[in-house]
């Protein structure tokens, strides 16, 4: 804990969990998507679903999907801005099982057909957990430098990735690997002590069987 967890953050209200945390989940989805989404289906669960109109959770998530930060004064107008930016958005309420009461599934579609689905939870004080990416279970909180690397589940890929990272003198603090099924889609979540340069990302992207590399910096 540090003092700016106690006096801070600077944020748009009214709620750390239902506004600031919700925005952060949208922002992570935006970073993972890597391009301007054309369509966003936002599926709200639990307390998010019940109270989103009063807490501005809907506006916050759309603001995050447009890359805004939690203290951006445009958040309260994000829906109008999204219409102007030609983001086709819609909201649904869903009932998920075994998730935190402040959870949302965001499904994005790009202009060339790229798709992404992210499940995130807002666990209090503006903190978030990303729980699923494209139906693969993950678990990370975006408080450290984080690499998200979907890839094919095949021998050598993980070793190649960690090798490249190590050769660049970057230390891996935490690493989790998940797969949807043997030989199928898999994903690495790698948290590092040092930041990741653009060159390092390029070196990772050219590794065979890597689908994409997303670097998420803590805001």
């Amino acid at each position: 804990m540090n003092i700016f967890d106690i006096i801070g953050p600077v944020m748009i209200g009214p709620s750390s969990s239902h506004t600031a945390g919700a925005l952060k989940i949208g922002r992570v989805a935006w970073k993972l998507f890597g391009e301007k989404p054309e369509k966003a289906v936002v599926k709200l669960h639990g307390s998010f679903a019940r109270t989103y109109k009063g807490h501005g959770t809907d506006k916050a998530i759309i603001a995050g999907l447009m890359g805004m930060l939690p203290d951006d004064v445009r958040i309260r107008d994000s829906l109008e801005i999204a219409v102007r930016e030609k983001l086709n958005f819609s909201f649904e309420t869903v009932e998920l099982t075994d998730v935190h009461p402040n959870s949302v599934v965001i499904e994005l579609t790009g202009s060339l057909g790229k798709k992404l689905a992210v499940l995130g939870s807002s666990i209090g004080g503006g903190n978030i957990l990303i729980k699923q990416i494209d139906n693969m279970e993950v678990l990370f909180n975006c408080q450290n430098y984080t690499l998200v690397i979907p890839h094919r589940d095949t021998p050598g890929v993980i070793a190649s990735v960690t090798g490249v990272i190590g050769n660049n003198r970057v230390n891996i603090a935490e690493m989790k690997v998940y797969r949807s099924k043997r030989g199928g889609q898999a994903i690495m979540i790698i948290e590092t002590d040092e930041t990741i340069t653009g060159d390092l990302i390029k070196n990772l992207e050219i590794i065979p069987d890597i689908f994409r590399v997303t670097f998420i910096e803590p805001d």
């Binding site: 804990m1 600077v10 209200g13 004064v73």
Partner: protein, 293 residues
């Protein structure tokens, strides 16, 4: 090096070194985070600037929140004070106006500083900014007051809770009030022991306070709790500055707050299932805002 295990730790270290709690916290955090004291001070000064904007903005006009449940009370109180209709002079009026303004800005999706939470964001700014004006205290001392508040908040967060969902409003607005009271005492030249007493008084005055927001929104009664929390901080600080001592030591009061929170029904801890939220009017408003049956 501070461990934030207790308020007494802060008091003892301050008394031992002859330095203020704020200075110790600043130095400790600089070491812990590898950032210079100047950098941390500047970041805190930026937070104070945002606090000033929110304390001002809400009182400028009547502007309703998205739900329609709140907005305009800071403005109303400001006008009433200007027209000589309030009790308690300019300090009490200003502290209430700033607290209401900040909390209304929060409810209206404006920009605030969570201190320690968004729900309690009006309390510390109102107390410190009012004293800055009324007592002509240099801004630098007020920024340092925020470090005192932060140190106190770290202890409470560690030993009890600063969240309404866990501990009720006594944890959220109560913590902010205790943080503000301690900061006020130091800013007004009180000694570290008085800082501890002020925290104890502020918390003791709100033990058992429930978190029962109408329609689950951070508006009713949250906004007005910011006003009472800010005034409560002044009540506590005044008693401490008068060398009145808390019969129960502050760290025991914090643990009492925690145990009371655990004893409280979950219906009174930010679930909107009891208290004000479940009054006939509370239910009617919830249905109206959310269109539920």
């Amino acid at each position: 090096m501070i461990d934030y295990v207790s308020i007494q730790e802060l008091i003892d270290k301050a008394q031992l070194t002859g330095r203020k709690i704020s200075a110790l916290v600043l130095e400790d955090q600089s070491e812990a985070n590898g950032r210079s004291e100047k950098e941390l001070f500047d970041e805190m000064a930026y937070k104070l600037k945002i606090m000033q904007e929110a304390a001002r903005e809400g009182a400028q006009r009547i502007s309703l929140s998205a739900s329609g449940l709140s907005g305009g009370d800071a403005f109303r109180l400001s006008k009433a004070f200007d027209n000589g209709k309030t009790i308690g002079g300019s300090t009490i009026a200003k502290v209430m106006i700033k607290a209401l303004s900040t909390a209304e800005v929060n409810a209206g999706m404006g920009r605030i500083v969570a201190a320690p939470t968004a729900g309690s964001c009006g309390i510390i700014p109102a107390a410190l900014l009012t004293v800055m004006e009324e007592q002509a205290i240099p801004e630098e001392k007020i920024v340092m007051g925020l470090f005192t508040a932060a140190g106190i908040g770290m202890v409470i967060a560690r030993n009890a809770s600063i969240s309404g969902a866990e501990g009720g409003c006594q944890a959220e607005c109560g913590s902010a009030s205790a943080m503000a009271a301690g900061a006020l005492v130091e800013t007004m030249g009180g000694n570290p022991g008085m800082v501890g007493n002020a925290c104890a008084f502020a918390l003791k005055n709100v033990l058992g306070l429930t978190c029962d927001p109408v329609a689950g929104l951070v508006e009713v009664p949250c906004i007005k709790r910011n006003a009472s929390g800010a005034v409560n901080a002044i009540v506590a600080a005044n008693m401490a500055l008068a060398e009145i001592e808390s019969v129960i030591p502050v760290d025991e009061v914090i643990l009492a707050m925690k145990s009371i929170g655990a004893l409280m029904s979950s219906t009174l801890k930010e679930t909107s299932e009891g208290g004000l939220a479940s009054t006939p009017t509370g239910c009617r408003l919830k249905n109206k805002i959310f269109g539920t049956a």
